[in-house]
């Protein structure tokens, strides 16, 4: 039905699912109130066990008998009559109940991951990584996964705005803007088009033709979290202002200075996949070594083999020292500094040794936005001759190219009045640049925003020409030189919005003539979208480049390749000039503030997305807030333990009573705060001043100075007057010395593949027979899962994926404070505190160490971390099943621990008796409930619901089902199309999303399947084996490559 959503919508925000609703057909309205609005499609109803397409007489009799009985039964039970409403015009490519998949490009950030969009009855309901994309490589980050919800965001503008007034038709808006632009052109007034980094060739061409039409327009790109350091450094050192393509798949030794490359840095999905390649011990050539120098404990840091805390402002000194060690070894001139800065245990020297050993296949990176640091890093990589292998600057990355100077100039121009007009495209400087932007924009004669919601910047603009969501748009992207990704719409625009590029072309008067216009308003998706002028623009360009046939194929695959650059870049840099600033940096004093992106929220462009706020931070497990992460030393000085707040002041910006969080692993004299929070115009969820919803957290962007440096020196921290309880999904952080996660080192693994996993399975005395899963005599499937703790980085992409796939409700901050998050899969994170003597995993030991401590709290800085994804283990002898009085949870013939929602009476005994505590209870009704005003509470948000999964009612238990709906889908496919289940790959949502392929799922009764191999692997162990619950999930012992330096 939802296919019929068309662009010409009624002006009051009403999202009608079909003509019936528009005409308020009483039957439809009645249907709406029920769980299944319309009867289930015929295919599903009949695709029953033992259904063949070639039905003979016997089958006929079967169905006849079945239907008679069914009717008889149905008539015994009072139910209302339901009508399935057919399509008026059935699109040839849509079958009710069967999903279509389209390749496209993720638009949630400018990285440009190739995605696969799952569309059900015309509704995009899931995003997954495209396997043909060299960027996403089949995985997708949490942020990208969640971005599908911003398509169904009630905060989106339904119509363009003129001076905060909604206007129905675009022509009035266009007229106004055109005339204004014309006047400015005539009077030679400067207009700035301020955008985020754009790597879409067609968009750039659109902008170009706009600039042709209006010669007074200047295009400036900038990024909220800037990579100028790298860009400038490369410009200085190689004469090429670009970000290189980092090749972690070639790196055997990785040294990262505060770069969270697995979580947030440049292209994390790609980097995770490449990084994971070398993290498995059994990979040929052995494991890679990863050393992380950082001040705040980043997700990347938790995965490092060696992590050394460093004070952020001394970073330049430390990379300088690294350079000098290498130069010394190579007999080259060192940077002339009086003394080399070194970290505890000469870790930098060790790192240097390691890098030399791996010269040519090593990689040194830094997360700093300070070009000097990046210059030294370039020099280091040059010495190690990594530019041939692990760093590709020839075919560089286009993902980030913004210019801090440019945006600063634009800001000054506006405030001085030298710039008369400004157009914002994907840019929200009022939120993510400095505070005075609002005033500056007010001065402008013309201010236009393409924002699709009324964000901080749009709120102060004269015109808002709402852009389409990327799932409604035609576009393309060139994330890497020569690598093209295509974006195609998977739904007609939900609102009266228009693609920004189209608007630009329109204003430029260069909009392509629409050939097949007559079809445009037939409300038929395919033709309608083909009729979009920008499609013609994109097509005409790419047919020119690739050729018509190739273009269609590329569109289908979502990717294409164009010519790549040849040759080399030549290094012209000179680091000895940096001696002074290196020396200065080594003298750095006071407390630093480090601004970072949290893994879910990132730079904050999706300010109204509940999934991202509910996603616990991979390290701190805090949801729904940003907080000042304090090292134990400072916390002790301020007398802060938990539930406290601090006042923080830096760069003339002051926040009071910001939630404080004592973060193990936080380097002394550095505090951290995540950017991307504190929206004032995001909406109901993310906070909106005009609607009266409190912002979530504080906005950290104003702390940044004009150089957009993420490290801010000498901040003032004082204890806040208020208390604040952060919502955490995990509040106990030590593993208490329990055998829940097994670890070993690479060296001992090489000696003995059982290392760390020697503990043989406990001797079991049981009076029951072994569980057998057979169907009519022959062995049935036995579904199992394996999780590689070496590959899992803890990024939480699986959590969001699972929530989307299984309609897991969002419960909000207060419920999480009550420890009632609903996630079916969680990632347990355990710290072990490493002091000189031993590594402590028991809370008492840590408490003792604290009380014995003199105030340097070294054991708080040196923590080793492990991530363990935890979901229902589908135990063969499940404790939860035995205790349910009403058989609401029982075991399937395929070894699934299945939950029967409509049988559950909610005694919660199963939840109590689950040793893994993975069962989740519906404490309230989480849909259509104003107390939980998230996407489940409005008709638009509900469009993201997966129709294959029940939305649970209040009072029932729920838990991971191994994505049983996907298993069923696969089985039905095999039934319909023939073939063998052995060759069908069933993928759970978490597995599909995982960028590092840590999760494997499959049939344990198939001895050749990957899953069987993994379960036989020496590293495989099951958690709490001694309980003899016989879980179907096995974990691969974590192997750390620690004994290499």
């Amino acid at each position: 039905m939802s296919l019929l959503i068309t662009a010409n919508m009624s002006n009051n925000i009403k999202y009608w699912k079909g003509e019936e609703e528009l005409n308020r057909d009483p039957q439809f309205l009645a249907d709406q109130k029920r769980e299944f609005g319309e009867a289930l499609p015929l295919e599903q109803a009949l695709s029953d066990e033992g259904f063949e397409l070639n039905s003979n007489r016997r089958d006929f009799l079967k169905y006849f008998g079945f239907s008679v009985t069914a009717v008889a039964l149905a008539s015994c039970y009072k139910t209302n009559v339901r009508h399935a409403v057919p399509y008026l015009v059935k699109p040839e490519d849509v079958t009710p109940g069967v999903a279509n998949y389209y390749r496209s490009t993720c638009g949630s950030c400018s990285v440009g991951c190739g995605v696969e969009v799952k569309v059900r009855e015309g509704r995009p309901i899931k995003l997954d990584g495209s396997r043909d994309s060299v960027i996403s490589k089949g995985g997708l980050c949490a942020t990208g996964q969640a971005s599908i919800l911003s398509l169904y965001d009630t905060e989106r503008l339904a119509n363009p705005l003129m001076k905060n007034q909604e206007v129905q038709d675009w022509s009035t808006l266009d007229g106004e803007i055109k005339s204004k632009l014309a006047v400015m052109k005539a009077t030679g007034k400067k207009v700035v088009l301020l955008s985020n980094s754009i790597n879409s060739p067609s968009t750039l061409r659109a902008i170009a033709s706009f600039k042709e039409a209006y010669t007074n327009v200047e295009h400036v790109g900038y990024d909220a979290v800037s990579y100028n350091g790298i860009l400038d450094a490369n410009e200085k050192d190689f004469g090429k202002r670009a970000i290189p393509h980092y090749r972690f798949d070639n790196a055997k030794a990785i040294v990262s200075f505060g770069a969270d490359f697995l979580g947030t840095w440049i292209s994390p999905v790609e980097f995770q996949a490449d990084y994971a390649k070398h993290r498995r011990p059994d990979v040929e050539g052995g494991m890679s070594v990863h050393i992380q120098f950082e001040s705040t404990l980043s997700m990347t840091g938790t995965n490092a083999d060696h992590r050394f805390p460093m004070q952020a402002s001394k970073e330049l000194a430390y990379v300088g020292t690294l350079y000098n060690y290498l130069a010394k070894a190579k007999g080259l001139a060192q940077i002339p500094v009086p003394t080399n800065a070194e970290l505890a245990g000469n870790s930098i020297e060790k790192a240097a040794k390691l890098l030399l050993k791996n010269a040519g296949k090593s990689l040194v990176i830094s997360g700093s936005n300070n070009s000097e640091v990046q210059q030294v890093v370039n020099a280091v990589n040059m010495l190690l001759d990594n530019y041939s292998s692990t760093i590709d600057l020839v075919n560089h990355s286009n993902q980030f190219s913004g210019s801090d100077a440019g945006v600063q100039a634009a800001f000054e121009g506006l405030s001085k009045g030298t710039i008369a007009g400004v157009i914002f495209y994907g840019a929200n400087p009022v939120f993510n640049h400095n505070k005075e932007w609002a005033a500056a924009i007010a001065k402008a004669k013309l201010s236009i925003s393409f924002a699709s919601t009324k964000d901080e910047t749009a709120a102060v603009c004269q015109f808002v020409a709402p852009d389409n969501h990327f799932l409604e748009s035609w576009s393309d992207a060139e994330p890497l030189k020569g690598i093209i990704h295509f974006t195609q719409p998977t739904i007609a625009p939900v609102f009266n919005t228009r693609q920004a590029q189209e608007s630009l072309l329109n204003w430029a008067g260069s909009i392509p003539a629409n050939e097949n216009d007559p079809l445009a308003d037939k409300g038929i998706l395919s033709q309608k979208l083909e009729a979009s002028p920008y499609y013609l623009f994109v097509r005409s360009y790419w047919e020119g480049v690739l050729g018509a046939a190739e273009f269609q194929k590329a569109l289908e695959m979502g990717v294409a390749e164009t010519t790549k650059n040849e040759g080399m870049v030549s290094y012209v840099g000179n680091v000895s000039a940096l001696a002074a600033s290196i020396n200065k940096s080594s003298q750095a004093q006071g407390i630093d503030l480090v601004l970072y992106q949290s893994v879910g929220v990132r730079e904050g462009s999706q300010g109204n997305n509940p999934w991202l706020f509910e996603l616990p931070d991979p390290v701190s497990k805090v949801c729904w807030d940003n907080y000042v992460a304090l090292p134990k030393q400072i916390a002790a000085k301020l007398g802060i333990d938990k539930d406290a707040t601090v006042n923080i002041e830096a760069n003339g910006v002051k926040y009071e009573n910001v939630p404080a969080f004592v973060q193990p692993g936080q380097a002394n004299n550095t505090v951290s705060l995540a950017v991307g929070f504190g929206h004032t115009h995001a909406g109901k969820v993310g906070g909106s001043i005009e609607k009266g919803f409190a912002p979530i957290g504080v906005n950290a962007y104003p702390f940044m100075n004009t150089t957009r440096d993420v490290v801010i020196g000498d901040v003032k921290i004082t204890k806040g007057s208020e208390k604040y309880v952060l919502a955490q999904t995990q509040t106990h952080h030590s593993i208490e010395g329990r055998d829940l996660v097994r670890e070993s080192t690479f060296t001992s693994w090489k000696k003995n593949p059982n290392a760390g996993n020697e503990k043989s399975a406990p001797h079991i005395y049981t009076i029951w027979e072994k569980a057998e899963y057979r169907k009519d005599g022959s062995p049935n499937h036995l579904w199992g899962m394996a999780i590689d703790l070496n590959a899992c980085t803890g990024c939480g992409s699986c959590i969001v994926s699972c929530s989307i796939e299984n309609n897991v409700p969002v419960v909000g901050r207060d419920e999480i404070r009550l420890r009632r998050e609903m996630h079916w899969i969680r990632i347990d994170r355990y710290y072990s505190f490493v002091s000189e003597k031993e590594s402590m995993t028991r809370e008492n030991d840590i408490a003792d160490a604290d009380s014995a401590d003199k105030g340097d709290y070294k054991h708080w800085e040196n923590v080793s971390v492990i991530h363990q994804p935890m979901m229902c283990q589908h135990c063969a002898q499940a404790p939860c099943e035995t205790v349910c009085p009403v058989l609401a949870t029982s075991h399937s013939s395929e070894g699934l621990n299945q939950m029967t929602y409509n049988r559950c009476i909610g005694t919660k005994y199963c939840g109590n008796n689950c040793p893994y505590k993975v069962r989740r209870f519906n404490w309230f009704r989480y849909n259509d409930n104003d107390k939980f005003d998230f996407h489940f509470n409005n008709p638009l948000g509900k469009m993201v619901i997966n129709p294959d999964v029940t939305v649970r009612t209040r009072g029932v238990m729920e838990k991971c089902s191994f994505c049983v709906q996907r298993i069923q889908e696969a089985k039905l496919k095999v039934k319909r199309e023939g073939g063998n289940m052995k060759n069908v790959q069933v993928e759970t949502a978490c597995q599909r999303a995982c960028p590092s392929n840590a999760i494997v799922f499959g049939d344990l009764h198939n001895p050749d399947s990957d899953i069987s191999k993994l379960h036989r692997n020496e590293r495989a162990f099951s958690v709490l084996d001694e309980l003899n619950v016989q879980s179907s999930v096995k974990y691969m012992t974590k192997i750390r490559n620690t004994e290499t330096i």
Binding site: W768, A771, E881, T882, C884, Q1030
Partner: protein, 188 residues
């Protein structure tokens, strides 16, 4: 004989002699004396159980114990059958790989069922046998017989020395003697 104890009804009987006592020991010795004379005491109504009295006037031992036992057996087997039918025969379900056959986990339910049937089976028979029913008309001979008085009833028959019997009762400490015929009591 029938289920209901006919002796409990005082309707359509011959003339009855009634002795009233207020002292337990006197009553006991009196009834002993009467029985020794070879006279059958029909019944004695007391406000509380007077131990030994039943043996003196020759009340047979109740068989309710056996009834209870059989009710118990019935309950046990019913419960077993129920569980077997529901859990093994009709719809066996794999819960935590527990065997679908008799296992110790059946015992609690079977036990409770046994107790329930024993108690209520016996209770019902108790009421039947005692001719007890909600709101039934009671045959009170004296409105203090549930308070502190004890009433001895002797059904007269041909050639019974009623005079002598009355005297015996009087001498054995009966505070009052009466004659009861067709529902009318007359003090004598």
């Amino acid at each position: 004989m029938g289920l209901v104890d006919k002796n409990l009804s005082l309707r359509n009987r011959n003339k009855m002699l009634i002795g009233v006592w207020e002292d337990e020991d006197a009553l006991l010795s009196a009834s002993q004396a009467v029985v020794d004379k070879g006279i059958h005491i029909h019944d004695v109504f007391t406000p509380y159980p007077v131990h030994g009295l039943d043996r003196i006037i020759g009340v047979k031992r109740s068989r309710l114990a056996r009834v209870a036992f059989f009710c118990g057996l019935t309950g046990l087997s019913l419960m077993f059958l129920m569980i077997w039918y529901m859990y093994v025969k009709d719809w066996p379900v794999n819960v935590g790989n527990k065997p679908v056959r008799f296992s110790p986990s059946w015992i609690p339910v079977m036990f409770e069922g046994t107790i329930l049937c024993t108690a209520f089976g016996m209770g019902i028979f108790f009421f039947l046998r005692n001719r007890m029913l909600h709101g039934i008309k009671n045959d009170l001979l004296d409105d203090r017989q549930t308070d502190d008085r004890m009433i001895m009833t002797i059904e007269t028959c041909e050639g019974m020395d009623e005079k002598g019997l009355i005297d015996l009762m009087k001498e054995k400490g009966a505070v009052e003697t009466r004659e009861f015929h067709n529902g009318i009591q007359t003090v004598i």
